[in-house]
Structures are given as C-alpha cells and as structure tokens.
Amino acid sequence: MTKDIREDIAWAKINQDVLKSLETPRPAYWVILAVALSVFGVGLGCEIYQYQMGMGVSNLDNPHAWALYIGSFIFWIGMSHSGTLLSAILHIMHADWRKPIYRFAEAMTTFSLITAALFVAVHLGRVWQIYYALPYPNERWAWPNWQSPLLWDAMAVFTYLSSSMIFLYVGMIPDLAICRDNMHSGWRKKLYTLMALGWEGTDRQWRNFRMTYLTVACFLIPLAVSVHSIVSTDFAVSQQPGMHVTSFPPYFVAGALYSGCAAIISLFIILRYVFRFEEYMTLPILRKVVRLTFAIAMVWTYLNCVEFAATWYGHDPAEKAVLVQKAIGPYAPFFWTMIFCGSVVPFAMMVKKWQTSIPIMFAVSLLLNLGMFLERWMIISPTLSHDYWPWQWDHNQWPSMIQWGIVFGSFGFFVTLFMVFCKVFPSVSMYEVKEMVYHRSLHSKKAESAAPEGFVAEELAVKGAN
C-alpha cells in the first residue's frame, strides 16, 4: 500500500505541474475535443430536424409519450451528484485524499447539469413557448403551475446548478490568484486577474474563505439529495404502475451518486493521462474512489431489490405486470443488461489487483454508466408500454435514429464543455494539494518517532479512506 501522494513534492513544483496543464496537454486532448465536437454537431442536426418536423420524428407515440429524452435528463442530473459528494460531503468529513480530484468532479457537476437542462428544451413539444413555464410577471397574468413536479425540477435544478457553479468558483479563487501571478500577459492573464478578485491569501481572506466554503458545502449536501429526490417525484408522484413507487427518492439518489462516481473514474483516467497528472491523481486515490463506488453500487443494488420486492409483495396486478414485462417483455434485454452492468460488473471492483488497473477500471466505469443510463430508460418505457390501459399497450415503440442522435449529441456537448474547462482552468486544486502535502508531512514527522515507516503509511491510508 503506497501513499496517496508523495509528501515531498515541493510546492513550487505543484504550481508548475498544474499550470502546465493549462498550456500543453498531450495530443490526445485535441483528438478527444474534436470527436466530442463532431458528435455534438450530429446531435444538433437531429434536434433542428425534430424542431422543424415535430416530435413525431423521434418515434415517440401516443401511449408512449416519454422515453430517452426524459431518461437522459435524469441521467445527466444524476451524474452531477457525485461531484457534490466528493467536493462537499468528503470535505466536511475531512477526507483530504479528495483534494487532487474534487475540482474536476465539481466541474463535471456543473456541466452535466447544463447538459441536463438542454434536455428540457429537447423534450418539449413547443420549446418556442418555453417561457410559459417561467414564473415572471407577464401581460397574460398567467403563472406556471407550481403543483407540477416538472416545475419543482426546474426550481431544484436551477438552485443546484447556480449553487454548484458558485461553489466551484469560490473554491477556485486562490488557484486563480496563482494563475494570475504566473501567467504572462494575454487574454488569460486578464481573465484570471479579473476572476481572482485581487486574492492575496491574507489571513482575513483565508479565515472567511474557510467558513464560507464550509457553509456552502453544508448547503450543497441537502440540496443534492433534494434535487434527485425531486426529480424522482416526476414518477413517484404520478399514478402509473412501475412509476408510482415509494422507494424512488432514495433509489434515485443512490443511482445518481453511482453513475456520478463511475463517471468520475472515467474522467479521472482521462485527465490523468491527458494532462500528465500521474503525480497527483495517483492510483491509491483511484483505489479509494473505486471502493467508494463499489459501496454505492451495493446500495443501489439493494434499493433495486427493495423496489422489486415491494412490487412483488404489494400484489397490485398492474404493478406486478410491469415488473414481469421488464423481466420477460420486449425490453427484457435492456433490463437484464442494466442489472448486469449495475449489480454484477461492480464486483470487478472487489478484485484488489484490478482496483488500480487503469484499463480495467476504465472499461468497468463505462459499463456502469451504460447500466445507469438503461436504468433511467427502464423506468420509463416498460411502464408506458404496459400501464393501466391494456387497449393502449404497445410494444412497437423504439427510439428513432433522431432520438438516439440527440442523446449521443448530449454526450458530445458535455465532453466539449468539460474539456474546454480543464484546459482553461486548473483542474487540480493547487492550494489544496499543497495543504494535503503539508499536513501529511507534518503528520508523518510526528508519527516517525512513534512507529516504523510502513505502519504509518498504512494508518494514513486508512485515515484517508474514511
């Protein structure tokens, strides 16, 4: 068991390494960016076509009015949650191993929320009238319907998005100051100077900074939980069998953290390579994240079982029918893929050797996210094609290429934003890595006298993990 991070990295070196990521990434960066952009382009094309022709081209049909759009909406919101998990929850728990990786996690939160917000527009039949849903005083004297879970969504997502953006920014101020001090003139210099707000790291600034950061973190945790439970009410509040499920709020939150952590692993691996962050995004940290993910995977699996069990013993014929449909109906392949990816694949994370194997973990994390995407779809489609009204049961619904195109496009959109961010802003929190290194070194100094090297490291690692 090696240490999370070398304790003897000089602070100056930290600055250098991270600042280098703003200048010269590996060529892979540009490849990824190009691919992402083109995928996004495709999605955009599909959306324009759909806008012109009407929703019908997405091959949604009348009993089957929702599908991948809402699914992706939930997926992206879900993905955002683990960013908060790392940056807020672990911050409060003083798990300092999070420090090198929470910045990009938080960025991921922000951008996946933006992507999710896109789907609201994509999903609406008359997006050009979307302003009807905004609560502003208007000449119609009409207000949106606050009773609708969709509006709660909007409210929650808006709060979450803006809050986590602020959180991201506040946490970045000291690093922006560093960039300001080390950048030579140019638009970037101006940008950083502006954004650093004249931060100089005085004791007064640090004092208030600490308090603020802590407080906002405290707010973000209940917020994150509320957001996905509110999203779950879209279904839980409705009447349809398979959607009207009591355990949905926790189930959704768990699923959210799950897919988010998986996404973090993927991005961890990508950034580590693209920006040469081997020094900071070290394998022990990866191992910790993987363990965390595994734990959440088990929570999710458990809640899945709870849901099925509840349905089974609830003895509502309609509910039961939907469950059976999922298992043996036309959507069975996807359902079982979801179960496999969501509940079986994670066991690969138990193998200690694999926990730190980059390729394996990369593959696993992608599979997990596939599973989580299907999960969202499996909440919607089986129910709508097999609900209370047998006359309207249909099994012919299959998302058209347009619909798929838009969904994939959203991934392109997300990756583009994310990659641009990582190039423009330090994706590793410099000052916090410094703190980490500093505290570790202090600690080991104290410990040295007491115990032999290996033991200390062991103990450190354990301390870090909780």
């Binding site: 039949g125 979307i130 009807y132 609708s148 879970p149 009447q239 209370y388």
Partner: protein, 293 residues
C-alpha cells in the same frame, strides 16, 4: 389580489377543489350550478363507430394516415375498444357471446391526475366541471398523457394542418370555426364538445333561464344510433343523466359503487378504473348477456 388576497381568502384557497365543492358560494367553486356528466350503456352500444366519426367531424380531428397511425399517432378523441371474453387458463379468446365494446373518451375526472402535473397549467378544472385543455397554453411536456390512466389524451406529434392530405383544399372548408385547429406539439383531448355546452349556456343566459336538459347534446351522443350515450347536467335532478346516475346509485367521488358493495342489488353502473380515485364524470353501465342461450 396578491399577498393581501392570499391572507384574506386563505380558507377559500385551502378548500379542496372541486370535488367537495358543489354549491360552494366561492367564486372558485362551481358558481354555475352545472356539472357536465355522461352515462354510457354498454348493453346498448353496438360498437358501430358513428360516435367516433361524428367526433372527427365536430372537433376538427386530423386524419393522420396509415403510416402515422401505425406509430400510435391516431387522434380519435372517442375510440371504440373491443374486448373479448377470455377463456380462463387457455389464454385465448371466445366469441361465443360476441365482443364487448367500450367507447373510451376523456372521463373529465373531478380529481384529474393530468391537471396537477401540467407545468404551465394548460389543463385545469372549469367551473362547470370539465377538464379543460388550453391548446395555446400547452408547451407539450406530455406529462398529462403519461399520468392519464385512461390514455385518452392525444398529442400532435406532427403539424397536421400543414401536412399533405390531412385537409387538402377544399376539405378545410369543413373545419368547425368554433374550435382551434391544433398545431404541432400540442396535447388535445375530448372536451365534452365544449363549443356546444358553451353555446347552450350562452343562449340560456341571453334568454335569462337555466340550461335545460334538451339544450345541449355532444356530437357522439347526437349521432349514437342506439342512444347508448346520455349527456347532461348532473346537478339538474330532472336531467336524463342525473336520473341514470341516481338509479344506478353511482357517486362521483367514491372508489367503489353500490353494485360492488352488494352484488344482489341488481345495479350495473360503475366508473372505469374507479379504484384509482380520479372520480370520472362518465358512468358506464355493464353489458348484459342472456343466460338461457
């Protein structure tokens, strides 16, 4: 209005609308002593589709054509559903006693699942007990359709007015001027022929009288060759529909009707899916079959 209004009328705002609101004096309850309701006698319904076609004629429903129909884009607000008697176990159907027809239209629920979930409030409860759908307010989130247990809401997946062969000239001259023609991305559904009830109430007001039972007929009721459909004001004790509901002891806001309470009371009135408690405004009367043949 606003905060002042909120504080003044708090108790009114906390009143549950509209289920327990008949005769409520507030401006929010049914002020017109009208609650439109329907009774459909399944023993009389022969499944001939006349009502459905009449609905097309009255309500400017687009003809979507084979391809779109196959993708579930049909726009029939009134659809005739045909169910078979099922042989238990074997899982196949028996035609011995013919088929069972069920005319399905918007049930105008009093506690409508669709109303609460619309983000823009495009579907509300009207003072005369209808479940309104405001086309130009709708932004097409389709939540109402997802939450409708009867699946009687129909979404405009395409822009039918501008689609070829939907209303080729001169067919558009047949369109009913009392209704909007719905464009793409709008949800629509049966309105109990709102334009007709409106005209009836309008004339009654002008003549300074209450709406009589004979004043208004829905298009489906008017055409139904066997008179299986009855429509009228439930609050008017003389109206056909009220008498039928009364005779069948069917209540609006219950999830179990008299015929289920006591199987021997010889009644046959019920609401479809009533155990979900949407409190539908349409009463169905069970089909009857001879036992000695």
């Amino acid at each position: 209005m606003g905060v002042a209004n909120l504080l003044e009328n708090w108790s009114k705002f906390r009143h549950t609308h509209p289920v327990d609101d008949h005769g409520h004096e507030d401006w929010m309850a049914y002020p017109t002593d009208i609650k439109w309701a329907m009774a459909i006698d399944l023993d009389a319904c022969i499944g001939c589709n006349a009502c459905s076609v009449a609905c097309y004629a009255e309500n400017n429903l687009p003809v979507v054509g084979k391809d779109k129909y196959s993708h579930g884009a049909a726009m029939h607000w009134m659809r005739i559903e045909r169910y078979w008697d099922e042989n238990e176990g074997e899982g196949d159907f028996s035609a011995e006693q013919g088929a069972r027809f069920l005319p399905m239209l918007c049930q105008q629920c009093d506690a409508a699942p669709c109303e609460t979930v619309c983000p823009v409030g495009a579907t509300n409860h009207t003072e005369d007990g209808l479940n309104s759908q405001i086309y130009n307010r709708c932004i097409g989130s389709r939540y109402c359709l997802v939450n409708c247990p009867y699946k009687v809401r129909y979404f405009n997946w395409y822009d039918y007015p501008s689609t070829k062969d939907v209303w080729p000239s001169p067919m558009e001259q047949q369109l009913n001027p009392d209704l909007s023609v719905r464009g793409k991305g709008v949800m629509e559904k049966c309105t109990f022929c709102k334009q007709r009830t409106y005209t009836a109430r309008n004339d009654a007001k002008t003549q300074g009288r209450e709406v009589r039972d004979s004043d208004v007929m829905t298009a489906c009721q008017e055409s139904c060759p066997t008179g299986a459909i009855t429509f009228g004001n439930l609050f008017n004790a003389e109206s056909q529909v009220a008498m039928k509901w009364k005779a069948q002891q069917v209540k609006l806001d219950t999830d179990k009707q008299a015929k289920d309470e006591n199987p021997d009371n010889g009644l046959r009135g019920y609401h479809v899916l009533e155990w979900l408690r949407p409190y539908p405004s349409v009463m169905y009367m069970e089909r009857v079959r001879e036992t000695e043949i």
